[in-house]
Amino acid sequence: MKSLDTNRLPSPKSHKFINLASPLSAISLSPDSNKLIVAGRDTVKIIALENELKIINNLKVGKTQSLNYTGNDCSWNPSLLENYKTLIATAATNGVVVIWNTGRDGTRFVERLLSDHSRAVNKLAWHPEKHEHLLTGSQDTTLRFWDIRDPVPSKFIFQPKSEAIRDVQFNPYSSNQFAAAFDNGTVQLWDIRKNTNCVEKITAHQGLVLTLDWHPDERNMIASGGRDRFIRVWDFNSPNQPLNNISTISSVSRVKWRPGYKWNIASCSSIVDFEIHLWDVKKPYIPLASFNEHRDVPTALLWQNPNNLISCGKDGYVLISSINDAYLPYKHIRTTGVSWSVHNDLAIVNDKINRNPNYTYNSATDAIPLQHQFPSFFLSFNVPTPILPNNHNQNGSSASMYNQNATDQQGLLYVNSPVFQSSHESVYDQQFLFEYFAKNYRFNGMSFQDLCSHNEQVSLQVKQYHTSKIWSLMKLHFHDDSNTPDKQIKENNSNHSNNMNNNNNSNSPVLKDNLNSTKISNHKSSHQRSDSGHHSNNSKDKDVYMELKNDLVEDLMVNDVDNTIDPLFNILSAEAVTPLAPLPIRASSPSGSTKLALDSLSIGPSATLMDDDLLDDEGNILVDDLASKNDSDISEDNDSLLVSTISENQKSSHDRTGNNGLDFISTRNSGNGDDIFDIPEFDFRPILIEMLEYCIEKGDIQTCVFVILILKSNLDIEKRRITQWFHSYIELLQRLKMWTYVLEIIKNSDDPSINQASKKHTTILCSCACGRSIPQGQLVCEKCSRKPSVCSLCHLPVKGNYVWCQGCSHGGHLNCLKQWFEQNRLCPTGCSHLCSNNIAH
């Protein structure tokens, strides 16, 4: 849980905490590890580390306001000797160092005051072996090495002639050496026996070095943190290059190596960031763990043991936090990226990550050889999670890959795409279909009938049968020579109601009637068959149609998925922009699919190639699928419907080959003779709307837009939604950079909010140099009778495209300039401007 309400109390998960109600700046552990000295701006207190944190001694008693007893830093003498283990040193902001002896009787614990420093003492360090010696680093740019027994205590003064000292620490492996951190960005190594010059000097940071910490196990290794927001790890044997850099988000005020974990280090910040982060220096970007319980910046860190961190902060809290309760970023970071492009390509990044920090932790302490742990930090990331089944067959190869190049496994970007190479495949990908339809669908320039037939053909060519059916049905039901479907519908409606009243038998609903008529003209045999099935009424017929649609689609869909050889292939192929077509032929009759290939369906005389055998074949296959589900009557209806649709296609092809476009309608009329006024017409529009909704559902906005464009606004659909459809479609086109088609759609839309779009920002107003604006189409200024738009090459006025250089503002006829810049680079007027950069392309 990462909760950041700043007013919240520390959550109970930090099992020990105490609030001292004043800003704290330092803590130090007693040598027996069960007491803690805490120093702050106006506190110096001893806390017992028991089951609960408890104040057992308040060293700064009374109401003394003396600055001497403020705690900039504090340090408990590390000796276990009786006389020394009660000694505590604190450093004050006024430069005074106070030695406390908690072993003294009474209430006054102060043993000595050492006041040689002239400015604030930033850091104290007891000598690890000579227990009476204390080292202090101060803002006054000096370091002093004290013997607290000596009446003149500061025997040694180190004056590095640099800036203020922020931190000092003795080398745990060489007690005569100490490192100091300076405001000028250096970390210096000194020997206590030699106070003239430093042993080694590292320019560690830009700006202040605020903290340093010797590695507890590795000799000569030290970590430093600075205001430049870096933690760096150095080896004094090769001080030119840091071993590691960790970039944090704000200036680093304290660093502390974690005992028992070679490469783990905790850090906290002096501003902005209230969290304590635990880093693996080999993974320099993401902390292993974050402790987020402090409500203000933490000021001091101390590892009680490898799993518990003691910290204090400006918020007055002393906390003991367990690593087990820390926020573990590795559990919360996304390492997978997925992005769809407009072309339906899918870019995937999926880095393996080990989210279990204990796994790496244990392996660090367990018997895994060091070189396996950290050949590079990638390896530890790429430890495959053992539960993954996919890794079994890969273990061998991936291991070798690690050795060869650890980066191979990580940061790989995959771009998947469903583009099919061979065009003779009977399926088309979504992208192709979308562009194909956008280019080939038509919505004006022909009669209504022709538009429908055209679009039907267009969709048939790419085997989008469902879409083609929408067009054929539209043609059937909205047929009207005067291209006003509305009128026709009204007529239909009245017919319909009449018929319902007059003819209760209702033996010929319109849909069927159409089918019949088609069959009469083209397929006498099927006419016979469906004649026998005339007893379904209007609504039933509708149901049948819907059922047909659904069943067909499901059936084929199932087939589709079951037959998958290459899942992605099929899926994405079936998922077309016009996904109404689950490609029946491929599912049920592969042979048919090849016959129905593009060429056989192409517009023109060759369209008649569609032979009856094929049609029957096709029809039967579809019927077979359905026959198992429906009773024979219905299946016959279906049959007739399908056959009629296909024959309708054929019919329309015939139309194209030269017959009158109205042929079909007349055939229909003649076929049904006198029945024409008795036919119960029904309103096709709800079904069409339903079909459109279905298209929308499947993401096929294209068909809907074209249907609307052709039908104009005769459908009972909310205007707002239609506008929405258009906008969605236009955006898709724009994303595919099909600008001309965008403009066509915009121009021909009925919706003012859309067709206005083309009128925005396209007017160019010209004005003459005299200030008079020149109306469009006029070449001469009315006021000063000058010709403002003269070609700088041929000196004739420019009508139409005026090309000019934006650098020198000379220009002229497009063709003139084209010729000129084929050979020249400078402006034709001789203004010596190098126009070719601006204008050449």
Binding site: I286, T335, T336, V338, L413, V577, C704, R720, R721, K737
Partner: protein, 352 residues
């Protein structure tokens, strides 16, 4: 056949996000190595590194492209608590270079998600931070991308972080944002013109199969009042729940949320990737009386069998891609019965 390009991004650490631009011709990746890389699709169909630069002083969690009408503009968010706006500019020599236009530094914790608003609402950027706030920035003057102001902000849930956000892509609705946080509930916020601020549309969502007693299984729909006056049982229950419940709730926290492109649908689809291994799709539709929103869970799958981190819709909102710790990407599609089914798993492991 399936993988057309496989290349190493050569980031030095974990890669956290990849993002296509508006036209699908450029890719941006970001990583813990604090860098952003931009890849261009060359004429030969190869992805080539076009730019890389150190963008932040912490892990870069996400990158997002702005609409190209505003130029080549990227936004990135990072562990260093900042959001940066980058623009590709030409220097004097005609070299293209990504320039930091504006750092947005209001967050008090790691910024984990950023999303540009639908273009109709202007050049706006919603950011979502672990400090629990969703902040919405706007470039008032689109010619000057260095000026961004917070136009609105809201805290999605008191005392909790927010992990992910998604705009309602439909410009015909009021501006709406779905926010996912540390529990299994998504919150939907909308901009209320009257109050001139963002208000939560619904105080609870029926991920009811998990909330134990008093609630029923998945697929149940519930009606959510537009005004959040009615303090419902769920929030009360949450308030009273003990710590165990909270941690359990955290195990179901939402990692990612994606609002499907509308494409003229009369309803909305919102996909959710969750820590509890599930991918879920919720359908958000207007209730009959139009003052209420109805929510229904229409898919809940755990095929990843591991934490799911990302969900992403294709441009028509017909296929959902989800990816998880198992290294697979699952594609989901609605079949003809309106059921969402697994189409395929794309596994990176098997592609050689």
């Amino acid at each position: 056949m399936r993988v057309f390009h496989k290349f190493s991004t050569e980031h030095e650490d974990l890669v956290h996000d990849v993002s296509y631009d508006f036209y699908g011709k450029r890719l941006a990746t970001c990583s813990s190595d604090q860098k952003i890389k931009v890849w261009d699709l060359s004429d030969t169909g190869k992805w080539e590194l076009s730019a890389e630069w150190k963008a932040h002083s912490g892990s870069v969690w996400k990158v997002a492209w702005a609409h190209p009408e505003y130029g080549q503009v990227l936004a990135s968010c990072s562990f260093d608590r900042t959001v940066c706006i980058w623009e590709e500019c030409e220097d004097d020599k005609g070299q293209k270079k990504w320039v930091l236009k504006a750092p947005l530094v209001d967050s008090r914790d790691s910024v984990v998600d950023i999303k540009f608003s639908p273009k109709a609402f202007g050049l706006r950027l919603a950011t979502c931070s672990l400090d629990g706030y969703v902040r919405i920035y706007e470039a008032m003057d689109i010619m000057n991308l260095s000026q961004w102001t917070i136009v609105e902000d809201f805290e999605s849930q008191k005392g909790s972080s927010s992990n992910c956000i998604s705009w309602n892509p439909n410009p015909y609705d009021k501006p709406m944002i779905a926010v996912g946080s540390n529990d299994s509930f998504i919150k939907i916020w909308e901009y209320n013109e009257g109050q001139r601020k963002w208000v939560q549309v619904d105080t609870h969502l029926p991920s009811l199969s998990y909330t134990g007693s008093g609630s029923s299984g998945q697929g149940q729909s519930s009606i959510i009042n537009n005004n959040n006056n009615n303090n419902n049982n769920n929030s009360l229950k949450r308030g009273l729940s003990n710590l165990d419940d909270q941690s359990e709730e955290q195990n179901r926290m939402i990692h990612d949320i994606a609002w499907a492109p509308n494409m003229g649908r009369s309803y909305h689809l919102i996909a959710i990737a969750s820590k509890d291994n599930t991918v879920r799709i919720w359908k958000l539709s207007n209730h009959q009386d139009r003052t209420k929103l109805e929510l229904k869970e229409i898919m809940n799958k755990n095929d990843h069998k591991s934490e799911v981190w990302r969900v992403e819709w294709n441009i028509t909102g017909t296929i959902l891609a989800s990816s998880g710790d198992d290294g697979n990407v699952c594609l989901w599609k609605c079949n003809m019965n309106g059921e969402w089914k697994l189409l395929t798993k794309v596994s990176n492991n098997n592609n050689e």
